[in-house]
Symmetry: C2
Subunit: 351 residues, 2 copies
């Protein structure tokens, strides 16, 4: 564990340091180890203080805070979602977050989480697929080739051995970018001209489109028996990707039902429609995939515990790397009651 | 306004920079100007997206997130409350926060808020007193001489012209510290041996003790007619300072009733007990002090809009001062869909 020399100093992982940390560990190893932390926290799901994210909606998008705690540690993430940003050359989603000691409330890590969110989302998707996808799956369709697509591909390679990709995006430039970035990473890649073509022969279908609308990326006739659907893009009210008929044919697995019923694909279904909780599968309390013809669906929206796992992982990995700065974030006078005196001493020192 | 050269770079105000900013502006001017921002935002109270703070309770304390937005800007504060920290030489409360552009979700300021919270709490108290305290008040009792006490004194001097202080704390060392820190700041200071002695002749009584308990710092017979009570310390469930009989004799003014009924002194009263909203007084929709014999009570718990005002103020004031660092907080590749490519380019640059 990283112990800053003084409690008032908080280690900060910048975007540059996060990239270097990921590269030093290796993308696939990072994703595999991170999935291990996510799995560990899903297994002890019941200890977490859980709440749906706290959202502030504006005309153009949403800013959310996602806190959780296991009683020992507390983590939260700040994350926005502004679909129109992409057209202005900005990220749709940027994020940062902190991990704290729940025992004294002092933050112990502050970090960029734009990259880290992409990594934890992919790690969680591939972790779910390890319990839900058909055995021996090697071919995955990725519909939507934006910022999250390559991370999904790398995670499914690292955790499941996926080595054939079928890419499709409304915008061929996005597909070309995705194929270019994944060249030399050990995939056989087909770029496809339609969603129908993309799903041909795929045992796993990942949908990860970005536009905020009730879209129908997949229609019912496109999904054959035995397929695992990894539905990542439908993740806020009014943003879905699947035709509801597919949902009715699938066994649906979700992170935290109260949040997923608002934000996920299942917002299209009645509020009491039966769904399975992923943590129960991971903890061995519920069956994942039962047979080869079953359609499984991971209706992923991203939950605070996954960010908590990612914060824990980064805190453990930066020790000894030098890949962080020390931020003078917390006022911490020697006598805790003497906050004003700190100001006076600063005045003397400056004068 | 500070414009970082690139949107991915976020200005960060450390504790050291905050102290220097406060000293450069001057403590009293800072408090006066900050109270102006708080007043401005109370005046347009209705435009804010309001929610009680989001709290994670543990055995030893609480960690809270306090978000709000006026539709254009979004702000949040992270703040803890761990009463036992003081016994371990730590701050009871530490805080940091961010201000963002609600239109694209990008943070535009990250700052320490431990000092800033002490300043905004005092600014808000003195602002409320300007509307509620008896005209011409010059003498204030401060019961509880911990970290917040000097800030209260300075704000009441700056905004109301208070120049006589009567200090009391269970721990005489705290009183001595407070008196020492305020020496030479233009006050006549009496240190008192009991709360009863402290309130003698005071037109304003500030209670700002730190222990988490249902305490009775003030009993009914101690509060004479015409007094304004500035109740700052009772600010979470199970933590109060006033005997309920005082509340029943007072006209009570609060920030955001749904939060104050849980956290404030009025947690001791029935949930429908009539209270006045401070913003209505400031906006001229409701009378503040009516007469010279009325007891007024500001039941302060601290609300997210006050932090929002403080974030706005700091953002406006740091421009051109150099009193901030530039944090590489947000991953922002040239092509927003090419997050993974940013990682690949970093790899090439490092290799």
């Amino acid at each position: 564990m990283v112990r800053a020399p003084h409690l008032n100093i908080v280690p900060f992982v910048s975007v540059d340091h996060m990239m270097k940390l990921v590269l030093r560990i290796g993308v696939e190893t990072f994703l595999k180890e991170l999935a291990g932390y996510v799995e560990e926290d899903f297994r002890r799901w019941e200890v977490f203080d859980k709440t749906p994210r706290v959202a502030a909606h504006s005309a153009e998008g949403v800013i959310e805070l996602m806190p959780t705690s296991d009683g020992q540690l507390y983590g939260f993430k700040y994350v926005n979602g502004h679909p129109k940003n992409m057209r202005e050359g900005l990220q749709t989603v940027v994020a940062f977050g902190a991990l704290s000691d729940a025992g004294n409330g002092y933050p112990m890590l502050l970090t960029e989480m734009t990259l880290l969110t992409a990594l934890r989302t992919a790690a969680t998707s591939s972790l779910a697929a390890r319990y839900l996808a058909p055995k021996g799956a090697r071919c995955m369709a990725i519909i939507g080739n934006g910022a999250q697509s390559e991370f999904q591909a790398m995670a499914f390679k690292a955790l499941l051995g996926i080595d054939r990709l079928r890419l499709y995006d409304l915008d061929p430039a996005a597909t070309a970018k995705c194929a270019r970035n994944l060249a030399g990473q050990g995939f056989a890649i087909e770029t496809c001209r339609s969603p129908e073509e993309a799903v041909e022969g795929a045992q796993i279908i990942t949908t990860v489109t970005a536009d905020k609308q009730l879209a129908t990326i997949l229609t019912d006739n496109m999904v054959g028996p035995g397929v695992h659907i990894n539905a990542v893009g439908g993740d806020c009210p009014g943003k879905t990707e699947l035709h509801p008929d597919i949902l009715r044919r699938s066994d649906i697995f979700v992170e935290y039902p109260p949040q997923t019923r608002i934000e996920g694909e299942i917002q299209q279904l009645p509020p009491d429609y039966p769904v399975n909780e992923l943590w129960e599968v991971i903890a061995g309390k519920r069956e994942g995939r039962r047979d080869a013809r079953q359609i499984t669906l991971f209706d992923s929206v991203g939950f605070a515990t996954e960010d908590f796992s990612a914060l824990r992982y980064v805190r453990d990995k930066i020790a000894g790397t030098g890949l962080y700065e020390e931020l003078d974030l917390l006022a911490d006078p020697d006598d805790p009651r003497d906050l004003f005196g700190m100001l006076l001493r600063c005045q003397k020192a400056v004068a």
